[in-house]
Amino acid sequence: MTTATAGDLKVGSAAWVSRHGLSAVETCRLAQRELARRDPRFFSLEADLGDFGGFPFRDEFPDRYLDFGIAEASLVGAAGGLALRGKIPLVNTFASFALMRACEQVRLDLCYHNANAKIFGTFAGLQAGFSGPTHHSIEDIAIARSFPNMTVIAPADAVAAYWATLAAGHHPGPVYVRLAVDVTAQVYDEDCRFAIGRGNVLRPGGDLTLVAAGLTVVAEALAAADLLARDGIAARVLDLHTIKPIDRELLVRAARETGLLITVEEHTVYGGLGGAVAEAVAEAAPVPLRILGIPDSYAQFVGPYPEHLRRYGLDAAGIAGAARQALAARGGR
């Protein structure tokens, strides 16, 4: 596994990510080490994560690295206890296990007590591909954002994941960061500005707005905008990396200026990004809204991640197609 020695490259930059072929989980973990280097309050907690066990925290800070074995309630509960002592636990495990197996520990021990703990959930969405629905995580955003005090972040690429992790570390209270282990398409160049709660306009456009959050799908939304541009459709693209608290102002402006919102997420269509956007704009600027995601079902198909995305219409072609349909339905073009 690549180390963070960046040579002439700035750590956290797009060139650094490309040079070392880093995934979002890897940049997140390197950022966790950065946090720990600067502040002795940071602890790394895991629950037997196999490939990523301890990397790179355990070697440098063995006395601040704790593995709880395959026991997520124990893991998350202990994070709550460490936070009560002023530590900042960084909890690393699969998204589905952190938020679903240990759901009530997240709710009570972290969120109710407003614990200064961070959860980094890997294999969020469909990235576990061949592993099947037990390892897919398509409900985590809905669960996480329903908890008071919780901040929910889905970075768009490995660059954003690095800066999101640093931001989460410095953000008081419980934070959930949604990640995946495969190398994903890069969205950000050298100057990724990451501020919790402030979405980024990746592309201007006045005909409709694609609102995306998370690895892969933000890149696919940008590619979809390219496809739409060939037809003369100017799609605005927003990276709404913070799903809670949501950037209401940015969304309302997009609704008013483009009149059509299409949300894109690797998550069930219930209660995730689409739901959050609908809640945000429905009162202030109701416009037609289409929610692209995973329909109300568990994957029946066994196959690789890109094929899952294609079948659910979450690749560029699927997003562009849905956008054209929605525009036609609105009577725009």
């Binding site: 006395d63 704790l66 074995g69 309630a73 124990s74 709550g80 206890g81 009530e104 109710y112």
Partner: protein, 293 residues
């Protein structure tokens, strides 16, 4: 702390004093269970001597004037449904005025049916069972890492130990050799639906804890001397978490509530209040030197 605690009294006075405290706490629970919409009577009464020795015999190093004092011991009251007993102990120990107990589960009160984190002396809001021990591990791990001498006490219900998270945490506490962690099980033998051994058997209960790597002691959980000796000899073994299995009686001291699940939760009528107070006997007059006065 300026005030005496019972552990500094002569032996004869010490045990009498602790028994007096226990009786005062039980009286409070009776009134709370009568004047409120209801209380978890059975599990409150069974835990009274445990709380008495923890708070009034110099076991817990806490300062009611500074509930968040650095260096304090932690008590995680994991069987949060028995809040009436906890509130009675906290109030008598001086964490908040005793008069406030009359607001138990009244509109606008902070004394909720399950303890809230905003109450002085409460470290963790509890009530959903199975949370205390994992959180206690985290507190103890922080103390171990920092080389601090504070200790973490977790009071568990016996029925609560049917939760899997308790055993996940039991494993982790032994794995990390948390001898700064103490779990006390209020083994009253009865849960909401009936006897634990009928609903979901726990025995051989002490052996379960031993096999998980804990140093175990068993005591009569209503014998203040027994409890005191155990809780003043922590840890029970170096390098191991300590488990005190306190054998108790559900509803202890109230004739109609003893050893039955029907008073797991309930509201006492006025007649029942009088019966309960009669069962408990009159309070002895307060003595000057009582630590908690």
């Amino acid at each position: 702390m300026a005030a005496l605690d019972a552990s500094q009294l002569s032996p004869a006075d010490r045990w009498t004093d602790l028994k007096d405290v226990a009786q005062v706490l039980r009286h409070h629970v009776v009134h709370m269970a009568t004047d409120s919409p209801g209380a978890h009577v059975g599990g409150s009464m069974s835990a009274i001597e445990i709380l008495t020795v923890l708070f009034f015999d110099g076991v817990l190093r806490v300062d009611p004037a500074q509930p968040k004092m650095e260096g304090r011991d932690y008590l995680i009251f994991s069987k949060g449904h028995a809040s009436a007993a906890l509130y009675a102990a906290l109030a008598e120990r001086g964490f908040f005025p005793v008069e406030e107990l009359t607001t138990y589960k009244q509109m606008g009160s902070r004394l909720a049916g399950h303890s809230l984190k905003s109450i002085p002396g409460v470290e963790l809001a509890t009530g959903s069972l199975g949370h205390g021990l994992p959180v206690g591990n985290g507190i103890a791990l922080a103390g171990q890492h920092d080389g601090l001498p504070y200790r973490t006490f977790v009071l568990l219900g016996d029925g609560e130990c049917q939760e899997g998270s308790v055993w996940e945490a039991a494993m982790a506490a032994a794995h990390y050799r948390l001898d700064n962690l103490v779990a006390i099980v209020d083994r009253n033998g009865v849960q909401e639906d009936g006897p634990t051994e009928k609903i979901m058997a726990l025995e051989p209960f002490a052996d379960k804890w031993r096999s998980f790597g804990w140093a175990v002691r068993e005591v009569d959980g209503h014998d203040v001397e027994d409890l005191s000796r155990a809780l003043h000899s922590l840890p029970f073994a170096a390098g191991k978490p300590s488990l005190l299995l306190a054998r108790t009686v559900k509803g202890k001291g109230v004739s109609f509530a003893e050893n039955t699940n029907s008073w797991h939760y309930g509201k006492l009528s006025e007649d029942q209040r009088q019966q309960a107070l009669s069962d408990l006997g009159d309070l002895r007059p307060r003595r000057e030197r009582r630590a908690w006065a």
